[in-house]
């Protein structure tokens, strides 16, 4: 390709030069090395069609072991009761709710990428949206397990849904927990619909390249007879836009409603109006952490560096920085309001029950260290300090470093939920009710088990479904633009 800063010579017009933008304004391409549509299909489909790599088999084996662990722990819980967990008065919401909020927060990045960035016309989203949406679906599945098993008598889980039962009782819609049931189940369903609609054209690509009978049948069935007709594309694009438009308020509402589970109660540390936006920002932050954790190794292992470029990673780092800073602002604001309100319970909770560490704040103010001061400071370091590295281009472009930080982001956000759930509950209004919460091994194994569920599904997704939206990536290349020389446009041609 001609260097744009020099101007492009137009064939047939020796004295005419088309001036490109100055070099500093030129954007890095979304697909490197001027790859065309054919290469994109071949590259992405080869992940499915090629031989199964060793790392896939090994990680799948490990994931299945953890998946088995997940279901064994559920079985143990069902047969024995929630007493096997560390939940005890007054901490009735233990790891189950922490893990629920953590997993569902992770899902939010997928919807942000697929819906909000679509509405904002961020074309770089095309390389990562499919994998991120898959992550959303599997994360919401992991999240959904926890409230379900937390109710103790799992076989009565259907009482949460407005189904007529023999007692003649209906769910109580004045409780935010009921709102949550609707928010999470809608979120899961709409995410699946959106994901599947995006998949239809790509399944058609797989169908038309399929060599084996089973693949032809499978991909053929699920691609619904898609032909790529422009009359179809026209309806398809409209439906895609509408789904993006509907998913945007959805994703903002889901974590807002999750936060209302806390904020509607009277407990210090929970009873704040800042919770909905603060939870949404935290959710997107943790979700981008997980997207980076998943995609940085994958682009290398699956040789997708031309499609998921360094620019994509950098942009994701910037979103992480932005949302991480919002989270940091929310932490600061919580403390300010606790102090400014003059409410002694709020002040006690934030300063003596969360922040007071045994080294600086404790001795300085002559207060006993908070029981979980280290959880609080892990949260602050991982969520406020760590993302600040992303101000620097050197940090954003070092894949190993970004991967390392993305893991810290995930850890930090888990601790945020830990701090919110545990510290508020274990020091409630009456000191005679205070206790110290500690998880049991079953808590920990159940949490690890959900990773097995997540990665089993995610690895199967990599193996059988195009992990990058083929049609959408093609659509953002210059080869797809009918007004670009690479798309076949000729100078002077009018449309």
């Amino acid at each position: 390709m001609a260097d744009a800063s020099q101007g492009v010579l137009v064939p047939g017009h020796p004295d005419l030069r088309v001036q490109g933008p100055p070099i500093e304004l030129e954007r890095e391409p979304l697909v490197n090395n001027t790859r065309g549509p054919g290469w994109i299909s071949d590259r992405i489909a080869s992940v499915i069609e090629g031989p199964t790599p060793r790392w896939w088999k090994i990680s799948f084996g490990i994931s299945v072991v953890f998946l088995t662990l997940c279901f064994s722990m559920i079985l143990w819980l069902m047969s024995t009761g929630v007493g096997i967990w560390g939940n005890q008065h007054p901490v009735m919401w233990g790891w189950a709710i922490i893990n629920f909020v953590w997993w569902i927060g992770i899902g939010h990045a997928g919807t942000l990428i697929s819906a909000i960035l679509f509405l904002l016309r961020q074309r770089w989203r095309t390389s990562i949206n499919r994998a991120a949406e898959a992550m959303t679906i599997f994360a919401v599945m992991c999240a959904g397990i926890f409230p379900l098993i937390h109710i103790g008598r799992i076989w009565l889980g259907w009482w949460l849904f407005p189904i007529p039962n023999s007692n003649g009782i209906w769910p109580q819609f004045r409780s935010p927990l009921m709102w949550d049931v609707f928010a999470v189940s809608t979120y899961f369903t709409v995410s699946v619909l959106f994901w599947y609609m995006g998949l239809i054209p790509d399944l058609a690509v797989m169908r038309d390249r399929a060599k084996t009978k089973i693949r032809k049948f499978g991909y053929g069935l699920f691609s619904l007879g898609w032909t790529g007709s422009n009359r179809h594309w026209s309806n398809y694009e409209k439906a895609y836009l509408i789904l993006a438009g509907l998913s945007t308020p959805l994703v903002l509402s889901v974590h807002s409603i999750v936060s209302l589970d806390f904020a509607v109660s009277q407990l210090p540390g929970w009873h704040t109006t800042i919770f909905p936006p603060y939870f949404v920002a935290g959710a997107v932050y943790s979700g981008f952490g997980m997207v980076l954790t998943l995609l940085i190794p994958l682009r290398r292992l699956l040789k997708l560096e031309d499609i998921i470029t360094v620019r994509h990673v950098e942009l994701m780092c910037k979103v992480t920085l932005a949302t991480g800073s919002i989270v940091g602002y929310a932490y600061a604001m919580e403390f300010f309001i606790a102090w400014y309100s003059g409410n002694s319970y709020e002040r006690f909770l934030f300063f003596q029950n969360r922040a007071a560490d045994p080294f600086i704040i404790g001795p300085l103010f002559h207060i006993k260290p908070a029981p979980y001061w280290w959880g609080f400071w892990t949260m602050v370091i991982c969520n406020v300090v760590v993302p600040q590295f992303f101000w620097f281009k050197k940090c954003r472009t070092s894949m190993f470093f970004v991967f390392f930080l993305s893991i810290l982001v995930n850890i930090g956000m888990w601790f945020e939920r830990f701090v919110i759930v545990i510290t508020s509950l274990q020091r409630e209004f009456l000191p005679s009710n205070w206790s110290y919460y500690s998880p049991t091994p079953m808590d920990i194994l159940q949490y690890l088990g959900t990773f097995g569920l997540f990665f089993t599904f995610f690895l199967l997704f990599l193996k059988y479904i195009p992990l990058i939206a083929i049609a959408e990536v093609k659509g953002v290349t210059p080869q797809a633009d009918p007004h670009h020389p690479l798309g076949g446009a000729k100078i002077g041609e009018k449309h």
Binding site: L193, P201, S234, N235, K238, A239, I242, A480
Partner: protein, 177 residues
């Protein structure tokens, strides 16, 4: 012309060539024709003279149904069929009923969008003459096709073929029914 021909299919290699071909085919007055591409080509709807898609209406009706369903359901369950007085709160309040109704708006609206899209496109469909064609398997890959059905009033095998050739297609073939 073979008796069982479904359409004539012309292959193009770039979106620009396809776009200008689409303009010409439309100007020539064809009605039963279509363009097939691996991705939606920018400006193709205008070139083909397609109107704004009607999917929005399906979604709108879905959304309205969802919101009404949510509000009526909660009102019936908590204020009519089984009343429980809690903390002196009203039996029905649009505020506490709003979050579930809002979610149902989105849920039904999304089903409206997806199912409306499938309905307008007459999908799923298990069989299509073009999908039997070997060459057409490149359509989702990297080729572009302008397809004119033989059922079109203006279709005549020789003239249509000549027109498609003049538009710059290098591969033209008849597609069997």
């Amino acid at each position: 012309m073979p008796a069982n021909a479904y359409a004539i299919m012309a292959e193009f290699e770039t979106p620009a060539a396809t776009l200008s071909a689409a303009y010409k085919v439309r100007e020539a007055g064809f009605r039963n024709w279509d363009v097939f591409s691996p991705f939606p080509v920018h400006g193709m709807d205008q070139a083909m003279g397609l109107k704004n898609s009607k999917v929005g209406w399906f979604s709108f009706v879905g959304g309205c149904t969802g919101y009404t369903t949510g509000m009526l359901m909660i009102w019936f369950m908590n204020a009519i069929d089984y009343k429980i007085k809690i903390g002196g709160k009203p039996m029905f309040s649009p505020f506490s009923a709003f979050p579930p109704s809002y979610e149902l708006t989105i849920l039904f609206g999304s089903f409206g969008a997806l199912l409306g899209m499938l309905f307008l496109n007459r999908l799923p469909r298990l069989h299509h003459p073009l999908l039997k064609n070997r060459r057409f398997a490149l359509a989702p890959h990297d080729r572009f096709y302008v397809v004119i059905e033989t059922s079109d009033a203006k279709y005549s095998e020789n003239e249509t073929r000549r027109m498609l050739e003049s538009l710059g297609s290098r591969h033209i073939e008849l597609v069997e029914e």
